[in-house]
Symmetry: C2
Subunit: 347 residues, 2 copies
């Protein structure tokens, strides 16, 4: 072919992918014709379009969305900022979000990062640098400079999981759930309760902790509060040890998280306790493992698909009306009853 690019040169350089110009040459038309052929509704003769399409097919041409976006000022990129996206409920939420975003025609960028301010800011710079159309934050507590920067660059932000007055956010009503858990326990005549929390608690987690304790106290029950280092299985084991290997072992434990619940249950069983006969357990999240026969955990269900759908909806809304006041969505979490605790039918 006549195309020589920079083939013979000594600089290997980057191979440039096929551009509209190549296609135009191959089809014997102008660059603009190629562009039009790929723009639905543009004025091109059918024959020409077909000729161009054939050439494009042959060359494996794909419209450069970056260049296109540069002009249209839209990258279709949407950032997801997550820490440990492989674990627990976050994994499901992140997956649901990517799916929902792709469905919407976006290109999800997954920033797997730590929780420190520095790392969050770095993540945002990357995203801003790539002109991501929006950022969804699944974890971490960004400093207010984060919001400021987003605002100034006109980038919508959706925060999931924590209350955030400066941006749109989605939460689950963990307080209501925790309260319900406490009242269920007490309604069953259990007065020695346990709370398995986490030292690395995010606001979401502490909300559940506080609500449970408050309600239990209000109803006159005793609560042993115990926290593992992390909000995971190992933390659950820790919490289990602290709660169960004591003289006044609780009759029922509310775990701020399913993973913690699994740890607590495993330790309890190892200590010879039967669930729910000797110990009732309620978790939070309803990850698939909660339904496994080994656990059959009664837990509050967070629906990742629902939350993802809502997040995308917020994005839509925000892109259409950037100047709206921050919106807050709060989900109710139904209790999924399995074997680890069965409440009386009528509460």
């Amino acid at each position: 072919m006549t195309a020589d690019r920079n083939s013979g040169d000594k600089t290997p350089d980057k191979i440039r992918s096929v551009s509209a110009l190549h296609v135009a040459r191959q089809a014997g038309v102008s660059r603009s014709a190629v562009s039009r052929a790929f723009t639905p509704g543009a004025s091109v003769a059918t024959e020409t379009r077909e000729k161009i399409m054939r050439a494009a097919e042959e060359l494996g041409y794909q419209v450069n969305d970056l260049a296109r976006g540069l002009l249209a000022n839209q990258s279709r990129l949407v950032g997801l900022v997550v820490t440990k996206p492989e674990v627990g409920f976050r994994a499901h939420l992140a997956a649901a979000l990517t799916k929902a975003l792709i469905h919407r025609g976006n290109v999800p960028v997954l920033i797997n990062t730590g929780q420190t301010e520095q790392e969050l800011i770095a993540a945002q710079k990357t995203l801003l640098g790539h002109r991501a159309e929006a950022t969804i934050i699944l974890s971490g507590s960004p400093p207010s400079s984060f919001f400021e920067l987003a605002r100034r660059n006109g980038q919508p932000l959706v925060v999931i999981g924590r209350s955030e007055p400066e941006a749109d956010h989605i939460q689950t009503d963990g307080a209501a759930a925790a309260k319900l858990a406490a009242s269920h326990f007490v309604a069953h005549g259990m007065t020695r309760l346990g709370l398995a929390g986490s030292l690395s608690g995010t606001p979401t987690i502490t909300e559940r902790e506080d609500a449970f304790c408050a309600e239990a106290k209000r109803l006159g029950a005793e609560v042993a509060v115990v926290r593992g280092n992390d909000t995971d299985y190992a933390g659950g084991l820790q919490a289990g040890r602290l709660l169960i290997d004591r003289s006044d072992r609780p009759q029922a434990i509310f775990c701020v998280n399913d993973l913690i619940a699994f740890g607590v249950m495993d330790h309890a069983r190892q200590a010879g306790l039967a669930i729910p006969e000797d110990l009732s357990v309620i978790g939070f999240d309803d990850v698939p493992e909660a339904g496994w026969l080994a656990y059959r955990l009664t837990t509050f269900r967070q629906d990742p698909e629902l939350m993802a759908a809502k997040a995308v909806e917020l994005l839509d809304l925000r892109q259409r009306q950037p100047d709206l006041a921050p919106i807050r969505e709060r989900f109710n979490v139904p209790l999924v009853v399995r074997g680890s605790f069965v409440p009386h039918h009528a509460e």
Copy 2:
């Protein structure tokens, strides 16, 4: 300010984020000066650079990596094509990859997609359209047009998990592992073996199935082969039912996947069997759940970090030397011994 953009117009349009021109005006310099200020090693007076940096800070300016990439012909985007990125080992692998990529200065794009050819091709078009510098495929069996397209656009491809003569690929030596499992079982005098496989088996999975059966047969053991619908917990339950609720119940079961193993174990225990006394189980992957007290699963360890590191390494290499023949990396998978099966110390 003098900047008016398209403020007063009736078209709300897209808000353009702050560009180098804005910064230049604010600092009273030219666009090129701004560019230079952000290019390390460029020739700018310290004073000027500081002036520009101050203006940039004030405006919240961030270099547009898309435009920058347009010229340099590099987007820093790297695509990850995964189905069900939230489940099992894939979740860990995907997370490790995103982390490794970010560490390398890339921007990982997670395409959460189905397995059909159509969906894979669509994913690739998206990635190609955004000029992703490389694509890593975690699941699915792309048609050869996929490779062709990537080749033509000069996009490196890394396939993880399956043998792929047309592209660089990383695998674990599932055959060796499966073989080892069979020989361990037989060495323990077990002659009635079970294989818990999957009907939706990828090449990776069937490799393990075949190798196990072949070795067992070679050693004169009987193998009951059974497959659940999917390669997950539910599939494991299915497989467990089929294997255990029969007259000549196997003494040991090799599961092609940890999730399947959990299902098998849970069903076995529900049927009253003790593990490993009545039934030995070996899994594959070593996901964190394998270490949980409820399972203590003996399993072959795939290290997601290691695989991610290798994938990134391959990317590096391929970008430097695009014309190398396809490279194949095969990992050995060590057996992690836990409670579900304890081999004699000296094999």
